[in-house]
């Protein structure tokens, strides 16, 4: 039987995402400050803390992800509010029918999340945005599922590609978003959105593996 966990038990994944953003609030703002306006960690933390205050006992993973998505979308603003808002809402919608969450469900969640971001923004891989983390992560996850990998192996492949994609942003020149106005001067610095995306995918993967164990 393939590895999986119960959607009903999965709210802790959102709790963990909230904690990861809190732990990295200063770090994310520092990265953002090098080529942006230095508030990425502050805005993200504000949204995730608001979400924390709205989560209720007994919520499933999908329900909690929907609360997170709606909170970011409606109340955070900036670019990250709508992007991550739609991302988490799409992940919630893609998983809400699933009682058990296995590798295939996670793959459909990540694909739906990536599709929502493509719908909203114009960023492509190589533009120095969170897409540089997300696109290879989604591709690696899909490849792993297609070759029959179970949850742990598929998530490990996802995180490995997410990390490589995130680190690749250091040597990229920003093409979209505010830092794109810097041109060559944006090279040599990690992208803040790619960083938060990596940190969240990594935390989500670790938590899912624990739940499935």
């Amino acid at each position: 039987m393939s590895e999986s966990f119960s959607n009903t038990d999965g709210r802790v994944i959102v709790d963990r995402l909230i904690a990861v953003i809190r732990e990295n609030k200063v770090y994310l703002s520092e990265i953002d400050g090098k080529i942006g306006d230095g508030d990425h960690g502050i805005n993200m933390d504000k949204g995730f803390q608001l979400c924390a205050s709205r989560l209720e006992e007994g919520m499933s993973m999908s329900e909690a992800l929907r609360v997170l998505g709606r909170t970011l979308l409606l109340e955070i603003g900036g670019s990250m509010g709508p992007l991550y808002g739609q991302f988490f809402k799409a992940m919630a919608a893609a998983s809400k029918e699933a009682e058990r969450v296995d590798a295939a469900v996670v793959q459909s969640m990540l694909e739906a999340g990536y599709a929502a971001i493509r719908e909203l923004g114009e960023a492509k891989p190589g533009d120095k945005t969170l897409v540089d983390t997300l696109a290879p992560a989604a591709a690696a996850l899909a490849a792993a599922v297609n070759r029959g990998a179970f949850l742990t192996e598929a998530l490990d492949a996802m995180v490995e590609s997410a990390e490589a994609g995130w680190k690749s942003t250091e040597d990229l020149v920003a093409k979209v978003g505010r830092s794109s106005r810097l041109g060559e001067r944006s090279r040599g610095v990690l992208d803040a959105g790619a960083t938060s995306c990596y940190l969240m995918l990594k935390a989500m993967a670790e938590n899912m593996k624990e739940l499935a164990a």
């Binding site: 306006d37 502050i42 900036g78 106005r181």
Partner: protein, 334 residues
């Protein structure tokens, strides 16, 4: 941080509260604490005008809510786009059934949030059209106009769009007038010091003493070059050298000139700068129909200045000259 604030996380809330009580002759609160509207909005039979953006640019954006100008504004965190919900609520607050024109600046976050707000409003049966300001010349090359950001030229776009709506223009006509206004407008800024977002607590970029950044953005986005600080006259000439060839402006043109401080610039120095702008334009056979000099669109406590020039035709002249009343812009009837 040498600042006059309380809790850095509450600066926007407290600013809006203060603004609403100070300017209760023009603006009123709405159910959404991040939406401020003109006290008479929505005005029956008139196209609604909405804008919005991050905070820290006073008088933009709330300062342009008023008579013959903007009907409702969405207020964001410092230097951060308002939420989609705030734009949506602003659209609803401005709509009288004649449709709403959202006239705003070209920034990724604002574009996404306005797009979602417009979709929501369309579901309610409200017709929404948008115009994106992209007057900042140094922010992208001339063949990439759609990548340029909106800066102080937005004030002239609101002036033209607001006036067209007040004169009874249809949504199509209002949008066309606002689009023409921004298409005829070019801007550039020079920064001398950085600025600090209160919640961040330190400047996120530096300008060395004795240097200046030519082409700086409204959030401290680096400009096109850093060079030694120059006298005011030379700064004015450099700004014109960037702005004039881009449209281009030429002999015989009538223009509006808008000079704005970036927050920490003495108004005295803005007039010293304007003096040279007017001299050079006159030498080139370009006449200033209407100058605006003051703090019209700022960037927290940045020391620096922006130049905006708009080429007039008969319609734009009529729109710019129409009387208006807001905190940031007051013109008596001619």
């Amino acid at each position: 941080m040498q600042r006059i604030i309380n809790d850095p996380d509450l600066v926007v809330n407290e600013m809006v509260e203060g603004f609403l009580t100070a300017h209760s002759d023009v603006v009123v609160p709405t159910d959404n604490p991040r939406v401020v509207k003109y006290k008479h909005a929505p005005i029956a039979g008139k196209v609604g005008i909405v804008t919005g953006g991050g905070s820290g640019h006073k008088p933009a954006f709330v300062g342009y809510v008023g008579k013959n100008l903007v009907d409702a504004v969405a207020v964001g965190e410092v230097f951060s786009s308002p939420t989609a919900k705030a734009f949506y609520d602003a659209i609803r607050a401005a709509d009288s059934g004649k449709g709403v024109a959202v006239l705003y600046g070209n920034y990724a976050g604002d574009v996404m949030n306005v797009k979602m707000a417009a979709e929501e409003a369309a579901e309610d049966g409200i017709t929404v059209r948008t115009v994106l300001a992209n007057d900042d010349v140094p922010s992208a090359a001339k063949d990439q106009l759609s990548k340029r950001r909106g800066v102080a030229g937005e004030v002239l776009m609101w002036k033209a769009g607001g006036a067209k709506a007040a004169l009874g223009g249809s949504l199509e006509e209002v949008v066309a007038a606002a689009q023409k206004a921004i298409d005829h407008t070019r801007s550039v800024g020079i920064g001398l010091t950085p600025c600090t977002i209160p919640a961040v607590g330190k400047p996120n970029f530096q300008i060395e003493p004795g240097k200046m950044e030519v082409g700086i953005g409204h959030h401290g986005e680096p400009g096109i070059r850093v060079e030694d600080l120059q006298p005011a006259d030379r700064m004015a000439e450099m700004c014109l050298e960037i702005v004039l060839p881009d449209l281009p402006f030429g002999k015989g043109d009538e223009v509006v000139v808008l000079v704005s401080g970036l927050g920490a610039t003495p108004v005295m120095e803005q007039y010293i700068f304007y003096r040279r702008i007017e001299q050079v334009l006159r030498d080139k056979g370009i006449s200033v129909h209407r100058p605006y000099v003051g703090n019209y669109f700022t960037s927290l406590e940045m020391m620096g200045i922006t130049l905006t020039v708009m080429k007039l035709d008969d319609e734009l002249k009529q729109l710019v000259d129409l009387e208006c009343y807001s905190m940031g812009l007051r013109q008596a009837a001619e």
